[in-house]
Symmetry: C2
Subunit: 235 residues, 2 copies
Amino acid sequence: MSNKRREFIVKSLIGTAGLVVGGLSGAAAAGSKKMEPPYPYKSIDPDMIAEKAYGYYLKGHCAYGVFASILDTLKESVGGPYLGIPGELFEFGRGGINGWGTICGTLNGAAAIISISCKGWKKVIDALYRWYEETPLPMYYPKHPAKYKGVFAASVATSPLCHISVMKWIEKTGFAYDSKARSERCARLTADVAKKTVELLNAYHKGTFKPVSAPGIYKTKMDCMTCHNMKVGSR
Amino acid sequence: MSNKRREFIVKSLIGTAGLVVGGLSGAAAAGSKKMEPPYPYKSIDPDMIAEKAYGYYLKGHCAYGVFASILDTLKESVGGPYLGIPGELFEFGRGGINGWGTICGTLNGAAAIISISCKGWKKVIDALYRWYEETPLPMYYPKHPAKYKGVFAASVATSPLCHISVMKWIEKTGFAYDSKARSERCARLTADVAKKTVELLNAYHKGTFKPVSAPGIYKTKMDCMTCHNMKVGSR
């Protein structure tokens, strides 16, 4: 083998190995026992992520919308351990998990990404969930509304559960639960939750995060009266 | 540089590149747009996974117990795209997501692993959730009980929600919701759900899976009467 040929091979291999080791070291580490969450976090622009999450909802619904939009942003800014995680992992969360109406998909996806990018994930999740229960949503209005163009009345979910959150909004606005307007509402709410999630993560990593109270009893932190004070057989 | 030195570098790089490319091709692919779920699946022994999931519960609770035990098994048998996904991603699911009592953590972790290993994930999740709602659990009795040694009465959850599932068992057995016995019950239930999950996945990939009916209305497939028929202010 000529020296030139050897040098070519060496350079090619250095390039390949560099690319692979540099680009995938995180994925490698994530597969090993040594690199465990929390992974590094870099501040994310809340308004950017709202718009991005809205677009992601249109591709893979609510849980994917929050999880994959933030994940992909961290794949670009941090790389490493985020690279081996597929955003599609949270498509199952749509409609409170495959239409079951349990945990709101946005909150499922948000909790997952918070849990791997933040040591204090328990307090951050509690703050997000309390905010979701109490805040009139949706607030976001998209640059290019995809399914319905109007401005919506906002409703207070009173619960992190998809079914209750949706039905509170249905009561408030009169839209059908299976209408395009309802889907548009969930797309905008996906933007709101993604935005709030990165605001909380940014604050946590800056040291300005303030925990909120979320006492629990009987294996829940949900508001007991949302379900236990309903009229029999009705709401 | 001497020829010997060049050859040494070339061989080292070939080794490194081969190791990295061979061992991580899946993780690399998972990070790209080309390899999307569903990923390949290899049949898993149900009794083996029950015992493994029980042990995993003790390390990372219910959602991690189901998700990571099956994920790690597929990392060993399939490798590839599973390698870049950290099992810790579902630790947040404990106690119906960080103690909120929403979706039972076992069902959250199960839905996630089903969704990336099975094209017909929607039907498989529905079958699992219906089984969970209707089946007296827990059934599993561990080789080495970790937190409580007795045999438990089984209860029917009537719901995929953690809070309801736990409280039905509390009503049946009289244990406290924050007792060691309740934690042991959830560990055994983690084994049961992991076992049922791989039984369904095995059947799906063998072509013997039978879908079950799970009609939905008002953005839920949960049984309406579990919540809407409660006595006011009680159960």
